[in-house]
Amino acid sequence: MKLIIAYIQQHKLKDVKQALYKANVHKMSVTNSLGCGEQHGYEESYRGIKFEVNLLKKVRLEIAVNQEFMQQAIDAIVEGARSGEIGDGKIFVIDLVECVRIRTGETGQKAIG
């Protein structure tokens, strides 16, 4: 089992969700995040002072999947989130040791989906 963490542009969430649905990944968790990456921030100006916002708003996805879904999940995220411009985001994958469905107490692979 893997845990996929993805940082994407806020306004791409809808597209990513759709792509994931098509890839049969229906479960995920979404968090707000500020990100600092290659994208150098846009300029806001406030009361006459321009300033570089270097913590940009991003959306963070957390998706737990069984091994066999991993690649298609990653592909779906890339498909939905890519615009080709800096700031598109990153995907991180880590190993998942255990998974429990609280409602039933099921564990492991059958708890994940």
Binding site: H11, E44, Y46, V59
Partner: protein, 446 residues
């Protein structure tokens, strides 16, 4: 006002030339003159305060529109409300007021531009100008709600300028020109619109409809199968505050339209309040029945619907009539919002067309029914009702027609709608380079 001055002036003259001049005759004239002067002062105080209350409706609109739309467009909506008032105040002073209240060429006024010929200082005209300026600004600001969350700021500035410059004033001259130096064909026919259900609200509402149609719906408003999706407002407390502020300001709007400080203002305050209260209640119950829950946005719009509906007849219907007018307005606004959203598929984020356009028409027709002098239900026959229909219809043709032309022109030239990416990211960043709620965590995507 003016008429009274002539009457009293005439009396004064008569008294002067009547001989022998008896002591009590002279003093009766003196009493009348003093009374006239004081009453004028009372009228000025009252009308100015009413104008300030109507001015205060500007933040009312701003808060309602801001609260009922998304956080990422909040700054933009506020700037629009600030700017339509600012640009409009100047345009109306320079041109609009003259078109509306100057001596008329039959179609519109042609004097009083920039208040030309009015002496600086104490003249009643200044009080009348400030009162009419805030009315014009009300008509102009209605439009921004229906076009929220997707309109280019530059485009907004331009059309807003034209509304105060001539669209509102010219229609206004037809119905209200006679309040000062003008005189219009609609009022000549006996069209009654005491405080502006048609002149202000419908005109604003139909312009809003034209704008919303030309713009098209917000991204994501309609599913591929055409089903409308809800795009929820981001700050209901602010919207509720806005509605209360509008209700407060409406007392100035309706009761102030007497421009005279006397007994009927209490009466108008009562009918205005009863209609708004009744409409809030019926809108809530209508929403409750249709959607199973008492939706707050509908109840709030209901109160506004009642206020719009009573505006035309607030001085001339009975309190029970006011309750009925409001009650029907409250039902109407809910059905209208559902119809425009779900059937016409016109995306009006705050319900401006339903509240101001539809309920403005209802209020105007209601005068033909409930007016205690000439209304159908009081045995006045169909005459008043048909004049009211004519007036409401004219307003639609004028405002919606000009609106379509104007918005299409802007759309074809400098552009009326922001880019897709800007719409997704929000107009605050795109148009103004700033955020409404710095530091707050907001899910912009929801």
């Amino acid at each position: 006002m003016k008429k009274k001055i002539f009457v009293y002036g005439f009396l004064l003259l008569m008294l002067f030339f009547s001989s022998p001049v008896f002591a009590d005759d002279v003093s009766a004239a003196a009493v009348d003159a003093a009374k006239e002067e004081l009453q004028l002062n009372v009228n000025i105080v009252w009308t100015c305060i009413a104008a300030f209350l109507v001015f205060f409706m500007q933040p009312g609109f701003a808060m309602v529109e801001c609260g009922f739309t998304r956080a990422k467009n909040a700054v933009n909506i506020l700037m629009k409300n600030l700017m339509d008032f600012s640009v409009g105040s100047i345009a109306f002073f320079l041109v609009g007021f003259g078109l509306m209240f100057g001596e008329t060429n039959g179609l519109f006024g042609t004097t009083l531009f920039g208040m030309h010929g009015t002496s600086d200082g104490a003249s009643w005209n200044w009080t009348f100008l400030i009162f009419q300026t805030v009315f014009a600004a009300t008509a102009a600001t209605i439009v921004s709600g229906a076009m929220a969350e997707r309109t280019k700021f530059v485009g907004y500035l331009i059309y807003s300028f034209f509304i105060s410059l001539f669209i509102y004033p010219i229609f206004g001259s037809w119905a209200w020109g006679g309040l000062l130096d003008g005189g219009g064909w609609l009022e000549g026919l006996g069209f009654l619109d005491f405080a502006g259900s048609t002149v202000v609200h419908s005109v604003g509402g139909w312009l809003a409809l034209a704008g919303a149609i030309v713009l098209g719906p917000r991204l994501g408003k309609y599913a591929p199968d055409g089903k409308p999706k809800a795009i929820t407002g981001h700050n209901i407390p602010l919207a509720a505050l806005g509605v209360f502020i509008l209700w407060f300001g409406w007392f100035g709007f309706n009761a102030g339209s007497t421009t005279t400080g006397e007994g009927s203002i209490g009466y108008i305050a009562v009918t205005t309040n009863l209609a708004a209260a009744a409409a809030a209640v019926t809108a809530m119950f209508t929403a409750w029945i249709i959607m199973k829950k008492p939706d707050a946005s509908m109840a709030l719009n209901g109160a506004l619907a009642g206020l719009v509906a009573i505006t035309a007849g607030c001085d001339a219907v009975s309190p029970v009539g006011a309750i009925l007018i409001g009650s029907i307005g409250g039902v109407l606004v809910v059905l209208s919002v559902l119809f425009i959203d779900g059937v016409l598929k016109v995306d009006d984020p705050v319900g401006a067309v339903s509240v101001h356009g539809v309920c403005g028409v209802w209020g105007t027709l209601a005068v033909g029914l409930f007016n205690m002098d000439s209304g159908l239900l009081y045995g006045g026959g169909f005459k008043q009702l048909s004049v009211q229909m004519l007036g409401a219809g004219t307003a639609f043709v004028w405002a919606f027609g000009i609106g379509l032309v104007l918005f299409t022109l802007i759309s074809k030239t400098i552009g009326l709608r922001v880019s897709e990416e800007e719409e997704l990211k929000g107009l605050d960043i795109g148009e103004h380079g700033m955020e409404a709620y710095g530091g707050f965590q907001i899910f912009n995507t929801v």
